[in-house]
């Protein structure tokens, strides 16, 4: 029987929302499933995990794991993986995972497939699907079957509500971490500025992307937002340039929105943006590149020059 290890992420006892997605992925593979969790609040998070079907929930309990550092996380998981010898290790593709999973793979000398959209196991081992070329291509990565394969899963790749309930025993173990080596010393997390715009409550959103080319062109998009009675938002590059405040950024590093209507203007649709708006009921994409991945998520797509199309829409709405 195959062995699957899911590493859940939690903070202060609350599971990261992607943890249950990863658990659902682990369950879908069948086999013997271990779910590991660490850090301050891990006991509480483990109780939540114990309500799902698995073989066991393991709390990695060590003072060095209280606050996340890559070196302690890598040491603890390398220890657990060596002890458990799973065929596959699944993690949510969070910022934290991105910080340590490559180090873990290098420590173990095992393959890593990052940001996968699905994972499967067969007689030859683990295979995972992932996006390449900023979502313009899809690929299948096959891992060698000579030991554990590490796979991190993209937000929304599996559904948290598909995680099967159950009653799973929890055990606490103290990993042997050994010498930890040089490491970044973390400070307290903080927020930069209070948010003044709550995009998550907006009924309609018009968002601008790098296709608008210049700050002055934001005016065209603003006019569309006004004509639709929509909030103005943007993808990351626009906010990085300072053309719009960070509080109007939609995506993994900004806000997550789910309006009735989302109009993406000149946004190519990198996954970091998609995760922030894919809950929208109706998505309109306007882009000059017919291959832009945003069209994958669109209900209505217009391939064309936004500088012609957007004013025409405003005209139409006014007329």
């Amino acid at each position: 029987m195959s062995r699957v290890l899911v590493v859940a992420e939690q903070q202060g006892g609350t599971l990261h929302k992607m943890s249950l997605e990863t658990l659902a992925a682990g369950q879908s593979l069948g086999g013997e499933l271990t779910v590991a969790v660490m850090g301050v609040g891990a006991d509480q998070a483990a109780q939540a995990l114990a309500g799902y079907e698995a073989s066991k929930v393991v709390v990695l309990d060590h003072p060095a794991l209280a606050v996340y550092t890559a070196s302690a996380a890598v040491a603890a998981l390398a220890w657990l993986i060596t002890a458990e010898q799973p065929d596959v290790v699944l993690l949510p593709h969070t910022y934290q995972t991105r910080d340590f999973a490559p180090r873990l793979a290098a420590r173990l000398g095992r393959p890593l497939v990052s940001d996968a959209v699905s994972v499967a196991m067969d007689g030859q081992g683990v295979a995972a699907e992932r996006q390449l070329f900023l979502g313009k291509m899809a690929g299948t990565v096959r891992c060698d079957g000579n030991g554990p394969a590490i796979v991190t899963l993209q937000a929304g790749a599996y559904r948290a509500d598909q995680a099967k309930a159950g009653t799973t025993p929890v055990e606490s173990v103290k990993p042997e971490l050994g010498e930890l080596g040089p490491c970044a010393v973390p400070g307290e997390p903080y927020r930069e500025s209070a948010r003044t715009v709550d995009l998550s409550a907006a009924e309609r959103i018009v968002a601008a992307g790098r296709g608008i080319k210049e700050e002055g062109n934001l005016e065209i998009v603003k006019e569309l937002a006004e004509a639709l009675g929509a909030e103005l938002a943007a993808s990351r590059p626009i906010c990085d340039n300072g053309w719009l405040g960070m509080e109007r950024q939609v995506g993994s590093s900004g806000q997550t929105v789910a309006p009735k209507l989302y109009v993406a203007v000149g946004i190519s649709g990198a996954i970091q943006h998609i995760v922030g708006m894919k809950g929208s009921k109706c998505v309109v994409a306007i882009n000059r590149d017919a291959d832009a991945p945003i069209f994958e998520s669109a209900d209505y797509g217009i391939v064309g020059d936004l500088f012609e199309v957007v004013p025409a829409i405003v005209e139409e709405l006014k007329g």
Binding site: S114, K136, A138, P189, S253, D291, G304
Partner: protein, 265 residues
Amino acid sequence: MIAPHQGFHMKILVAMKQVAARDSVLQPAADGRWIDESEMTYEINEPDAYAIEAGLQLKEQQGGEVVVLAAGPARVSSSIREALAKGADRAIHIEEDGLDGWDSLSLARLLAGAARIESPDLILTGLQSDDAGRGETGVMMAELLGLAHATIVMKIDVGGGVLRVKRELEGGWFQDLTVPMPALLGVQSGINKLRYATLMGIKKARTKEVKVMTAADLGVEAAPLAVLERLAPPVKKKQGEMIGGTPREQAAKLIEKLRFEARAI
């Protein structure tokens, strides 16, 4: 390691990649394992351009040297020249064909091999590549070299023998970290304003040193733990409707559909 102080000569290595230009039309290659590279144009991986800029700014503040490290076929030399024209002092080119078929750990071994010879105070990388998009190679290098690291870095300050960096967390949160040197930092895209090469810079770049090595020189060969078996355009998840016609017609059809089909306005 000398403690950084006024006039400390900081050796900064920037690992960069050359990738297909952002507006490229992509077709899978005949063997279905990578893209068709005939008639493709290439450029510096945009996330790496921010790492180069961060390196140049640190050198300007701190004094020191910026060395660019890139692996790939002969064509990569054009991107290396561009980085040198922007102000990097010299470069290392691991000239090797077929690296797109290598997995990230093999690539990290290759780059770490070259980095080990240089033993820099700081290694900078971009967030991820625009082609493979793994975001793994830099952090793996840190492990192979036994360096402290930080990722998704927004800001870098040097002083008192350590780096102080601002790291982006999820959902609008940040965190300051103290990182002992030597270290590897993966920088977030968009953290600085990219400079263009000046004419003088382009001229100077011609005479700057580019050390060419091979994987064999470094004693590294691909030991593929993971292989890209198949590459193809993605299957559409949502059966979206494409609206054609002139801009005017497109606008009229869209509004009609939003009003009466989606009832979103």
